[in-house]
């Protein structure tokens, strides 16, 4: 099998794709946003409970998509829990660079432990058409925390 394909579909990704974590709609979420990849019809809804200190207390998602977009959403919702919005932004920026293959020789800002986890998704850099799949969840999260206040609790 092709090396790039093997790298793209690593066990971790397949596992997250098949058994996504945080795949639910939390009743106490106070922000949400819909993400849509019009090219392929992938759709995600990201739910966030944002504390008054701008810290993400809970993150979850629902939707349908390919293994890459589901795995990315699954890993993201795990990683961002407990982080502040600005920490998440820095991490997204790093992740985006990784997916675009623009991280060589660049100082990344996120915690090394998180970057290591996210690095398994960076195989998409060999597949320009699939970068959007990997970043869809992050764009949606970004939208949720900045715009998508939904509820009642505030």
């Amino acid at each position: 099998m092709d090396d790039d394909i093997r790298e793209l579909y690593q066990e971790v990704i397949l596992d997250h794709g098949k058994h996504p974590r945080n795949f639910r709609h939390p009743g106490d979420a106070n922000h949400e946003a819909h993400g849509n990849n019009p090219l392929c019809g992938d759709r995600l809804t990201v739910y966030v409970r944002l504390g008054e200190d701008q810290r993400i207390e809970d993150a979850a998602f629902e939707g349908r998509g390919c293994a890459i977009s589901v795995a990315s959403a699954s890993m993201m919702t795990d990683i961002v829990r407990g982080k502040t919005v600005s920490e998440v932004e820095a991490l997204f920026d790093d992740f985006h660079k990784m997916c675009m293959g623009e991280d060589e020789g660049v100082a990344l800002r996120g915690p090394e432990e998180d970057l290591d986890k996210l690095r398994v998704l960076s195989g998409v850099r060999q597949f320009p058409m699939r970068v959007k799949c990997a970043t869809l969840a992050w764009h949606t999260l970004n939208e949720a925390v900045h715009g998508g206040a939904t509820t009642s609790t505030e």
Partner: protein, 422 residues
């Protein structure tokens, strides 16, 4: 038929009707491309077909030594370009069996042709409450223009249903027709299910109800051909790039009297008789609908593609494609966990499928690494995807240059997908 027998049948066609697919492949430069170090197996002609040398060479010549603007210059080169452009119109007219080349309007693509009709026919003949009947398996190109018209005029869009196999339901369609039906706009061949619709009956029923009828022939003209007079349609649209021609060229066939009763779509040069600031009069069709400099060389390229296809014989190509379709249905159908989406009675060489546990996108990426190109996604037919209860499908669509080995390569590549997704 078993796999072996379908293959044998394809080879037995030796004789006076031998379809020499290897010779045809030699006419297409793309057929010798290597992708990821492997020979390209191109199974996405439904999205856009590859181009034969004759088209590329014809366009090259048109640009190098026969090029000037058309309908304008009183000099030899412009006359030559005009002659070539108008001859292309004649070639298209003949290919569709139109009564006159005047019934052929060149546009940018099938989408532009539908939009032209929505705009010009809509404004001339429709008002709030009038109805357009489409089907559940339309491409967005034959949905959204009617929705835009609905937003402007308040027309009503009715949707003719299909059954679970993807057959067009003529009886159900007939029930939707009524005194407010002004236009029936239906695909000739579904780009997802492959369904070939009963266009002659649809046209008859539409006319009985006093409506005009448009067919979206983007796929249909490629695989089934069209005789517009036999079918008696009022409009028929198609796109050049799926018919082995260039991009940037589409066709709107429209009956002459009807077209001359429509207002222009866009205004500009070439489409007018007299312009004053108070009042402008418009030329007759097709000039009325070809404002500005047209896609001159693209039209010439399209005519070259049509000459190429008719030289081989559209019916022979269609028979070859159906052999591929049957073999693909059989081979794919035998794969565990694979579901073929669309098993209509009349089906062009378009085979959509899903595979348990693997998203179509992942399928397409993985088999691409084996050189196999298929389309994955919603195929610009989201309402149809909903109807079929799928978010997306993978789609193999065949062209005149495909061979049975291409199906084998697809089946083989799908094993890699199964290896990865278990």
């Amino acid at each position: 038929m078993s796999a072996a027998s379908v293959k044998a049948a394809a080879q037995v066609s030796v004789g006076n009707d031998f379809y020499d697919v290897e010779a045809i492949r030699a006419d297409f430069p793309a057929m010798s491309l290597l992708i990821n170090g492997r020979p390209l197996v191109f199974l996405d002609s439904g999205a856009s077909a590859q181009k034969p040398n004759v088209v590329l060479e014809r366009m090259d010549r048109a640009y190098r030594s026969e090029y000037a603007n058309v309908h304008r210059g009183a000099y030899r080169l412009s006359e030559l370009a005009t002659e070539n452009y108008e001859n292309a119109r004649k070639t298209v007219a003949k290919f569709m069996n139109a009564a006159s080349p005047d019934e052929i309007v060149f546009t940018r693509n099938a989408t532009a042709s539908v939009n032209l009709v929505a705009h010009s026919f809509g404004r001339a003949f429709m008002k709030a409450g009038d109805e357009v009947v489409i089907s559940h398996m339309e491409h967005h190109a034959n949905i959204v223009p009617w929705q835009l018209l609905r937003d402007i005029l308040g027309i009503v869009i009715k949707v003719a249903p299909i059954d679970d196999d993807g057959n067009f339901l003529l009886d159900e369609f007939a029930k939707l027709l009524g005194p407010r039906t002004k236009l029936v706009a239906i695909t000739h061949c579904s780009n997802v299910l492959g369904t070939i619709t009963p266009i002659k009956e649809i046209a008859r029923l539409a006319h009985q109800a006093g409506a005009k009828v448009l067919f979206d022939g983007a796929q249909g003209i490629v695989h089934a051909g069209i005789d517009v007079r036999d079918v008696d349609c009022d409009f028929y649209v198609f796109t050049g790039h799926k018919l082995y021609g260039p991009t940037g060229i589409g066709v709107l066939y429209g009956k002459k009297d009807l077209m001359n009763a429509l207002p222009p779509y866009q205004g500009g040069g070439d489409m007018i008789e007299i312009v004053t600031f108070e009042k402008t009069t418009y030329r007759e069709t097709p000039a009325r609908f070809e404002a500005g400099t047209p896609p001159i060389v693209e039209a010439i390229g399209l005519a070259a593609a049509i000459d190429y296809v008719t030289g081989i014989g559209l019916d022979r190509i269609a028979r070859h494609e159906l052999t591929l379709r049957d073999y693909a249905m059989e081979q794919l159908g035998a794969i565990d966990g694979l579901t073929i989406i669309g098993r209509p009675r009349e089906k062009g060489p378009i085979v959509s499928f899903t595979l348990d546990g693997a998203h179509p996108h992942d399928i397409a990426t993985i088999i691409d690494s084996r050189g196999v190109a298929v389309r994955a996604g919603h195929h610009c037919a989201q309402p149809l995807m909903e109807r079929c209860n799928v978010a997306a499908t993978a789609r193999a669509s065949f062209g005149m240059y495909n061979r049975l080995e291409d199906v084998d390569a697809l089946v083989d590549a799908l094993k890699t997908v199964k290896d990865i997704f278990g």
